[in-house]
């Protein structure tokens, strides 16, 4: 990592030194006018800051400060302004004129904090809370009247399922936490909050199920997350890159998903989730090679079918990496390996093609990647044009013009389809990257090169670790019991049993519910909670 920085010649950015109002020790004064000035100085040139004064008996009794853009007006009116004003009007004598009394008697709000530190007030204002300052009081009150615009938790477009819950994480972290809480209703689901990012002050939550997750891994995640030094965190990808074991590997070592059920399943298996505010992508560590090949649906579908689909994926991940390179190697080095009739067909197709097979394949693969990349960000209306151009021009016309041979088009198309069978798209990206060096190796060294490349990849994958877990577990260090969820997708009661035994001795039925229908015809099946 250090080496990489030196290589790219980039240095951590140095900020222009600003007049510090973030002085940790700055306190509110007892003069409300002075306090207003302090805050106004902090929020200089911020057009969305509102200072609302409530005058009582000719002097300013309350000063309400908030950022208009982050606060829900209706909530503010109903729960802050009206109680303060009307409370004063109706109970003239008993109306509190200092902070202490207000939260007890006037404000019907849950999350109320009192502080006298300017930095705290500023921080709370910035996350959408309302600060209430009273005259002649050195303390202010911040109340949560959050009203940030948020969308509904709808099905994430990047991870569609046929069967499974249709909700997805959104850009609001508390909603996301709620989605997890609603799935795992136990106090053992811990959520530790941290703030990362000098300027963005992004909330990052580490979630895990106490007693299932490994304490050492939790500690490691804490350590890595808290040591992040960065100005801004805009997406969980930022965090991912910081905490990854080997960022330059093509294989992602942190799983990320928009689906709450995937995260919940991971938490129940002892993994640790990292939620980041303002992004629907939640991270899950540790990740293994095989999680990259598992879809959430695998456990919702019937076991036999899920196993079949999983093997299709195993097959196609191989095709995805090796199909083009095998084609290149066999046609340029090992023509004797192809059955005679197929050989003659390929020879016929290649007869008019001016390029060597290596160049031809690289050309088509690059073209395909370009098409894919163009298609991802293309507005939907234009997308059709791209697919027509892709199919007709690149496919048919190139073959008819004799620039590209038909077998290459078939190989590249198969490869394309194969790479889409990988359920985790960041994992699929890594697989795609491997394809090109493989083609080059095949074009220079033949099958020998492919074997070299395969061995190299295997060495890398087995040496890789994600938060202390070998990446190839449970096949890398072989544990037969865990193979149930790798080579096959075992029925869920098989796995439930494995999960139960791993949490045996605790008195919480986090994974096996009470009253689980005991339709067992086998005695050894779990029949309920403890």
């Amino acid at each position: 990592m250090k080496m990489f920085r030196k290589w790219t010649g980039s240095k951590p950015q140095v900020m222009k030194e600003l007049p510090s109002v973030d002085d940790e020790s700055a306190q509110l004064t007892s003069d409300i006018g002075q306090n207003e000035l302090i805050l106004k100085q902090v929020f200089q040139n911020c057009s969305d800051i509102i200072f609302r004064k409530i005058h009582i008996s000719g002097h300013t009794q309350w000063l309400i400060v908030y950022l208009e853009s982050l606060v829900d007006d209706t909530n503010l009116d109903d729960h802050v302004l009206r109680p303060l004003m009307s409370g004063y009007a109706s109970h003239d004598d008993s109306a509190p004129d200092e902070i202490e009394g207000v939260d007890d008697r006037v404000l019907p709000l849950g999350k109320i904090q009192r502080t006298s530190k300017v930095t705290d007030i500023v921080r709370h204002l910035l996350i959408g809370q309302v600060a209430i300052l009273a005259a002649e009081d050195t303390r202010a009150m911040t109340v949560a009247v959050n009203g940030r615009v948020q969308r509904n938790p709808e099905e994430p477009p990047s991870e569609l399922v046929l069967r499974g819950p249709r909700d997805g994480f959104i850009e609001n972290i508390s909603t996301n936490m709620g989605l997890l809480r609603s799935r795992i209703k136990t106090s053992r689901l811990k959520m530790e909050a941290y703030t990362v990012g000098e300027l963005t002050q992004t909330e990052v939550v580490i979630a895990y199920v106490d007693g299932i997750a490994d304490d050492n891994v939790i500690e490691e995640v804490r350590k890595r997350v808290t040591s992040i030094q960065i100005d801004g965190v805009l997406e969980s990808g930022y965090i991912e890159q910081f905490i990854e074991d080997l960022p330059l590997s093509p294989f992602p070592q942190v799983n990320s998903t928009e689906r709450p059920d995937v995260i919940a399943a991971g938490l129940l298996k002892g993994k640790i989730a990292i939620l980041v505010d303002t992004t629907p992508f939640v991270l899950l560590v540790p990740m293994t090679f095989w999680t990259g090949l598992q879809a959430s649906e695998d456990h919702y579908n019937r076991s036999i079918f899920a196993t079949f689909v999983r093997w299709i994926r195993f097959l196609f991940i191989f095709i995805s990496i090796f199909a083009p390179s095998l084609y290149v190697a066999v046609t340029t080095f090992h023509q004797e390996m192809i059955p005679t009739n197929l050989m003659l067909s390929i020879a016929a197709a290649r007869e008019a093609v001016p390029f060597p097979a290596l160049i031809e394949t690289l050309l088509m693969e690059t073209m395909f990647e370009a098409l894919r990349e163009a298609g991802v960000r293309m507005p939907r209306q234009v997308g059709q044009a791209v697919s027509i151009v892709g199919a007709l021009v690149i496919g048919q016309a190139a073959v008819e013009a004799g620039i590209i041979s038909a077998p290459v088009v078939i190989v590249v198309a198969t490869t394309g389809i194969a790479s889409f069978t990988v359920p985790r798209f960041n994992f699929a990206n890594g697989i795609q990257l491997l394809r090109f060096p493989m083609i080059l190796l095949a074009g220079t060294l033949g099958l020998y090169g492919i074997v070299l490349g395969f061995l190299g990849t295997l060495l890398h994958v087995t040496a890789l670790r994600s938060f202390g877990t070998p990446y190839f577990t449970p096949l890398g260090p072989l544990t037969y019991k865990s193979l149930k969820d790798v080579l096959i997708s075992a029925p869920i009661w098989e796995e439930a049993e494995a999960m139960r035994s791993s949490t045996a001795g605790t008195n919480n039925s986090a994974n096996v519910r009470q009253g689980q229908p005991s339709n067992s015809n086998q005695g050894n099946r779990p029949s309920g909670g403890n």
């Binding site: 080496m3 016929a348 007869e351 060597p356 097979a357 008819e400």
Partner: protein
Amino acid sequence: MKPFMYIGLLLIVLITTGCWDRTEINDIAFVMGTAMDLTDDGNIMGSVQIAIPPSAQGGPGKSRKQEQYFMISAVGKNSSEVIRNLQDKLSRRLFYAHRSVVFVGEPLARHGIKDVLDHFSRDPRTRLRTFIMVAKGNEGREILKIRYPFEQVPSEAVREMEVSKAGLGVTIRDLFIAAASEGINPVMGVIEGAVPSKGMEDSANKIFRLAGAAVFKDFKLAGFLNNKETRGLLWVLDKMKIGRITATIPGDNGNVGMVLTDSKRKITADVRGSRIKIHILLQGNGSLYENNTKLDIGQSENLKLVQAALEKSVEADVQGLLTKAQKKYKVDVIGFGQTIYRDQPKQWKLLREKWDQQFPEVDVSLTVKITIRDTGMAGPPLLLEEKEIKK
């Protein structure tokens, strides 16, 4: 920076090795079949049949009828020289891995193929699984010239014929194994070219057919076995996989046909000094496929009759083979010597040197056992009336 240096060095290793055996498909001439012949001055003439990949694409031009293969020949004093001279005539590199058949012209076969064969075992680019055949009464290259309607290249058709187990199917590998083994002499498949099929003599397209086996002695052609004798040979060599047997039923003026589904053979040798007795037991199971007699083979006596007739027919085939091998060519193609070598190695040591003289004197007894497992859906032929059927 060290890792980058290492990676750089590794890359150099990868790159500078060069692509030494890298060949594009369109720089290769696929040899599909080879023919070896003897020229008048004692040199070897090699001919190769090369497939022309039909260029289906390449411009809007509609695919016109083009040749799918062509043949070139060259003369040399040995195989290397022939190949060099062949290569001089080609713009593409000769590629032998897809060759399916090697034809040996009869004159060369009679002259001896020893000098030609070594090349096939030495050059790693040739395949030992290539079939090798003698072109009966013909030069090998004449076979390469014959068109065949089915496969893209005629040699491929020959390979298909051999693979289908109808013929002897001797590959170069089989030939070497037989030649290197004790007490057996190699045989080869035989192909006969330009034979008009009966009934269509005036057809312009003369095709080739498998025609039995060729018997070699000291790598020189000793003679041919006809199809019947070859069938007997297949069974005796335990190479028979499937086969059809026909027989005439004595006293009924009709015939039957059966298909063998499995067959076994057992050869036992009894050596007492110079008195050698060989017993051959052939066993076969199969189903009856044709019954042109008036017999109701649903009856077990009739079935026995049919089986006996079939056994007689096989016996005649094998007997014919034995007569030819022992009396005419005096070549042990069946491997009686091998049986003695395996069962009584001590005796073989004494016999080995004079086996060629001993072989014709060997006393051979033959037993054939055929069992019909399945007589089909009908007992007697359906077209007969009830009273015509012999119960």
